[in-house]
Symmetry: C2
Subunit: 292 residues, 2 copies
């Protein structure tokens, strides 16, 4: 998905909110906003939005001289999700359809996104979880279920810290010996890295690898050769979040399921759903679940 002109004011707002979220003073924030604006003025629009996200957050890390400014926030939301985990696992296990319940909870976890929202809190996430079972799901759960059964090698591209604990609920419903979880290769925003996969207990459950990149998405050219080989080999890719959608939605001929909350009007329009909807989108379009 390309970058739209409408992304520009949003990037500027995101940079501003990031600095506030990180508790930086007005002077540092002003310096950051100036370099971000200069960077945006040279942006190539034929690239997906995570290209800009990657550059902006490199600028933030450089300016703050901090390789992982979101570390504390990531730990906070991992802890919060881990506190919820036992009761959510019970909820899924006792439900009529544990696979769909886990899937819905994993998608609900996609609300922990500091790129789209500056003001996430435990309360806002609680509200999303509350509604997770009642929401219409755009896309086909049964089709994903069938693909999971048929796949020999599944790549699960994680998105954010905190969210990755919710992903664990779904990953536990997948054939573990055939699943590899992928995290970012370097901290960027609150995206999950190996540290978060460990905190979520995933490294003890399945194979976890990183993609070698610091983009908040999966820019294949920016990823390590070893990740790219795994990506080529996998016959099913489950990609969480908008960043992975924006970077992989044009991959023809592959089986990719995008699990996300459509948090931005442009992504929602691109998918063909309403803003805020829970999505299980495939490369050949989302469509409501008509297969039951």
């Amino acid at each position: 998905m390309q970058t739209y002109l409408d992304c520009i004011p949003c990037f500027a707002r995101q940079a501003l909110e990031a600095m506030r979220r990180l508790g930086r003073d007005a002077e540092t924030t002003e310096r950051l906003v100036r370099v971000v604006l200069a960077e945006l003025s040279r942006l190539e629009f034929n690239q997906p939005p995570p290209v800009a996200g990657k550059r902006i957050h490199r600028l933030i890390r450089e300016l703050l001289d901090d390789e992982d400014p979101y570390r504390e926030l990531k730990e906070r939301f991992n802890r919060y999700a881990l506190e919820l985990y036992p009761s959510l696992a019970r909820q899924a296990g006792e439900s009529a359809d544990p696979f769909e319940t886990s899937l819905r909870l994993a998608i609900a976890g996609n609300s922990i996104d500091f790129a789209a929202f500056g003001d996430i809190s435990e309360t806002t996430i609680g509200a999303v979880l509350e509604r997770a079972m009642r929401r219409p799901l755009v896309g086909s759960v049964s089709r994903l279920r069938r693909e999971v059964e048929a796949a020999r090698e599944i790549l699960y591209l994680a998105d954010n810290a905190g969210e990755i604990v919710f992903d664990r609920l779904l990953i536990e419903r997948l054939p573990r010996d055939r699943v590899t979880v992928v995290v970012r290769g370097h901290p960027v925003i609150n995206d999950a890295t190996m540290e978060d996969a460990k905190a979520a207990g995933l490294t003890e459950l399945v194979e976890v690898i990183d993609n070698g990149s610091d983009a908040p998405g999966t820019l294949l050219d920016d990823c390590s050769a070893s990740f790219r080989r795994r990506f080529e080999r996998a016959d099913l890719v489950v990609a969480k979040g908008m960043g992975n959608y924006e970077t992989l939605n044009e991959m023809g001929g592959r089986r990719i399921f995008f699990l996300l909350i459509a948090k931005c009007p442009l992504v929602a329009e691109h998918i063909g759903c309403a803003e805020g909807e829970f999505v299980v989108s495939t490369l050949d379009g989302a469509g409501r679940d008509v297969e039951g």
Copy 2:
């Protein structure tokens, strides 16, 4: 009022919406957005927001090679307001308090602001007019009334085209031989110029001068010497809209009444009212009308 960091994403959005409103193609819009971002990256924040507005709209006029790209829109909204004028004048004349009714209608006219809102239409303005009589008014109408009675020389700083027809309702309730209406010296956004004052029939009613500037506000240093003399001499200034508020709110020792709809969260906070409220603000603070 200074420019806030939060103004930056808003300026970027405004530039984008302006180009769309003016029906320009994506390529031209992209070029404009790039130069606006570069300009914003060098912006001085200790200046009021109309300094940036002035620069951005100069860039738009240069890029489009059009001295008055909003001319057609301004004419459309002048026409619309003139169609409404007879019934609104009757409504004011027949009301219990014609001065307050005219004041409320003049403030309602401040909704015709293409800087704050990209998508104004006759329908949105109609909805604001509909509610104009029922809304609480932040500030003191009776105080304004007293100042009008006492003043020897009143300057009425107009804001936008279309809106200026609504202003006429209030101007007709002022002592005409003591009122001078001021318009911008050069087209900027949809701000009213001499052409619009003529279209509104104001030039036949009272003295109308221009301020010599193309800022969407009243930046005194940017105005003509003759306007500045009039501004110094006036013992009452009625200033319409956010741009005039943002540029004049720090003028100590003068009698200025700002009439506006608080369309932006920062301006609303600065005034001490809620977003969307109708305001009759003075330099010593708004305050609800306790004087009845």
